[in-house]
């Protein structure tokens, strides 16, 4: 009777594997095949043939290194800002909110009830000429008459920070909430002041949340193209925008595929280095 027992876990895994195989592995293989194709000589727009042209990767990277750099810069900035905003927020909800805890958590998640796209378009209105931010800053003489906020890198990074904030806040909250308050009390008993107790006890114990939150923010942010498309200008285009344009506008599937692969590998390397450094014993 022991044999079926062994089989059960594998059977339970089967639907998941089948799904991932069909909708992840097969497309990845297809993408890899596409990435080394070149145009059919004399063929029509969008007709490509396999020539194992690995040079596509070099060309795609060299032509778009600026957008690659920008993607990682913006994603890093958005992650840092999101962390700076989310940590106190999650801390407050976990330790100080009392009976309002659940309401505040709902408020953190509430933006998800609206479409990602609509929220970003709303930001365009808020930062636009007829919103309240620009006239406000102008009346305080912080920005000049001709300065605008939309179509700038500030708007793109701000939009990304906002859009990914819940992804940062929720894992942080989950980690902070699990901390036993008695450990902090114990630190106080051992003559640690508030700052030392926070630095030596709270922060290390919340690290799994920090790692999970930064990954959940950074990875989608690096591949994001919506914020740059809606809030940015031609000078703030990210790699996601290039892939979109290559695929739909230029109908250059191989370059789009090569760029996608390069982005995946770059993120994988960065994330591996980061996890090595930060440690993930408690992450999974």
């Amino acid at each position: 009777m022991s044999l079926p027992k062994v089989r059960v876990p594998y059977l339970l895994l089967l639907p998941g594997f089948a799904f991932l195989f069909t909708f992840f592995i097969l497309p990845i293989i297809n993408l890899a095949q596409t990435s080394t194709q070149t145009r059919v000589a004399g063929g029509d727009t969008g007709q490509y043939e396999q020539t194992l042209a690995f040079s596509n990767y070099i060309q795609a990277f060299v032509e778009n290194k600026e957008q690659f750099g920008r993607s990682f810069l913006y994603a890093t900035l958005a992650t840092i800002f999101a962390l700076a905003i989310a940590y106190p927020l999650a801390y407050g909800i976990a330790f100080k909110a009392g009976k309002y805890k659940n309401i505040l958590l709902v408020l953190v998640v509430a933006p998800f009830f609206t479409s990602f796209l609509l929220r970003t378009v709303a930001w365009k209105q808020i930062l636009g000429e007829e919103g309240f931010v620009v006239p406000g800053l102008r009346s305080l003489n912080i920005i000049g008459e001709q300065t605008t906020l939309t179509s700038t890198s500030i708007a793109v990074v701000a939009g990304m920070t906002y859009n990914f904030l819940p992804f940062m806040t929720l894992p942080l909250y989950a980690s902070l909430e699990r901390i036993d308050p008695r450990t902090i009390e114990a630190a106080g008993d051992l003559y640690a002041n508030g700052i030392t107790a926070f630095r030596r006890v709270t922060v290390p114990l919340s690290m799994p949340g920090v790692v999970a939150g930064t990954l959940l923010t950074f990875i989608p942010a690096a591949g994001d193209y919506v914020n740059a498309a809606i809030l940015g200008s031609p000078n703030t285009k990210m790699i996601g925008n290039v892939i979109e344009s290559r695929y739909f506008k230029i109908v250059d599937y191989p370059t789009a595929a090569a760029l996608s692969f390069t982005l995946m590998v770059a993120i994988l390397i960065l994330v591996t280095l980061y996890i090595r450094k930060a440690g993930t014993e408690e992450l999974v």
Binding site: Q47, Q67, E130, G131, T148, I230, N235, K237, V251, D252
Partner: protein, 391 residues
């Protein structure tokens, strides 16, 4: 009048109350009742039959009656001919639609449509690939009604397999307060008050077309060097901070929010903007000429003989000036049918004088169709245009 097509107060008041294509889009959160109705139809996969015709068109691009949830002109067509017209509003994007049906076209399998509505350059690609059928002109006597300015595009010089559904003018749009004298030339567009507040279209043929025309180049014969030169001009205006964005229909939002004060834009959008904002915005065809492009009624190679004949009858029906006027009163784009203006006098005289819907002959002569590109050019030029905008 030819230089400054503007709306009469009557036209504005009519438009404010009328359910236009764009107003429905804005009001119903993007899903008009028409869209829902079409969605129920199942997306054009029913088999071609003797007395049916299946037409795939862009959303909100045909007169629609909210009360009865029907397309009045289409209902009349069915009554007159006994042909069951199935209408699908699922042509949302040229590339997307092409991608969806390309494999079937290649194999010669039914794609589920007897009439499709691609934009000029995409129609050119279908023709090149042999995916379009030539009309039996005996079935389309109204073909002669096409406007002279649209009668011989380079991809189909004799209009043997395409006829324009609606035309779209490309030119300058502006905020009247910021540009009291209006915009007629590239110099007017790149005037100091517009610095950093100019938006141009993502549609390569309109944006570069208007720039090329401003440089005195004939876009029906443009060479690669001339094109690349115009792209460099645009790239320079972007890097020098003149142009803030290259966008699709969203430029209308930028104009209303005040983020943009001048644009290279489309007549239909500007028509709505001007009427919704009490004349705060205006549109003109540049002195050096504007662009005109169109979406085209075309019969795919996979349509059956019966489907093709019925499709031709449908196309002929919509080239009847009476019917064309009814459609134009709803969709606000350039009506491609001669004689529709006289018919419009009878149903909505205010709209009959609109240069947006019925450009005068003098205006039409200043509109140009971008020449069709070879596949190599199409890829290379699109690439240059995309890279100039940071992609």
């Amino acid at each position: 009048m030819a230089n400054k097509p503007s709306l009469s107060p009557e036209a504005r008041s009519i438009l404010r109350t009328q359910i236009s294509r764009r107003a429905v889009l804005a009001g119903a959160g993007g899903i008009g009742a028409a869209g829902l109705l079409a969605a129920c139809g199942g997306g054009g996969d029913s088999a071609s039959a003797e007395n049916t015709v299946r037409w795939g068109n862009w959303p909100l691009y045909l007169d629609f009656d909210e009360a009865s949830k029907t397309y009045p002109t289409l209902v009349k067509f069915s009554e007159q001919t006994g042909i069951d017209a199935k209408y699908f509003e699922d042509y949302n994007d040229n590339d997307e639609f092409f991608g969806k049906v390309q494999a079937q076209l290649k194999l010669g399998e039914d794609i589920g449509y007897d009439v499709v509505t691609p934009t000029d350059w995409m129609a050119a690609r279908w023709i090149r690939l042999g995916y379009a059928q030539k009309y039996d002109t005996a079935n389309i006597p109204n073909k002669v009604n096409i406007l002279d300015s649209l009668a011989s595009p380079s991809y189909d010089p004799n209009r043997e397999s395409t006829l324009t559904w609606q035309g779209i003018m490309g030119g300058f749009g502006w905020n009247v307060e910021k540009n009291p004298k209006g915009i007629r030339t590239l110099d007017d567009l790149f005037a100091p008050q517009n610095k950093g507040k100019i938006v141009v279209l993502t549609e390569m043929r309109d944006t570069i077309g208007v720039i090329l025309l401003g440089q005195g180049i004939d876009i029906t014969k443009v060479t690669e060097d001339q094109f690349m030169n115009a792209v460099d001009f645009m790239a320079k205006k972007i890097s020098d901070g003149w142009i803030r964005g290259v966008k699709g229909n969203e430029y209308a939002e930028d104009l209303t929010s005040g983020d943009a004060t001048a644009v290279i834009g489309w007549s239909g959008d500007m028509f709505i903007l001007a009427s919704e904002n009490e004349g705060k915005f205006d549109f003109a065809i540049p002195e050096s000429g504007g662009t005109i492009s169109g979406d085209n009624l075309m019969i795919p190679s996979t349509a059956s003989a019966a489907g093709k004949a019925n499709g031709e009858k449908l196309i002929n029906y919509y080239y009847d000036p009476v019917v064309a006027a009814e459609v134009a009163a709803y969709v606000n784009y350039v009506c491609p049918v001669k004689g529709a203006q006289a018919e419009m006098e009878k149903i909505a005289p205010e709209l009959a004088t609109s240069e947006y819907i019925f450009p005068t002959e003098k205006t039409s002569s200043r509109l140009n169709v971008f020449r069709s590109l070879t596949p190599d050019e199409e890829t290379k030029w699109a690439e240059a245009f995309q890279q100039a905008q940071g992609n």
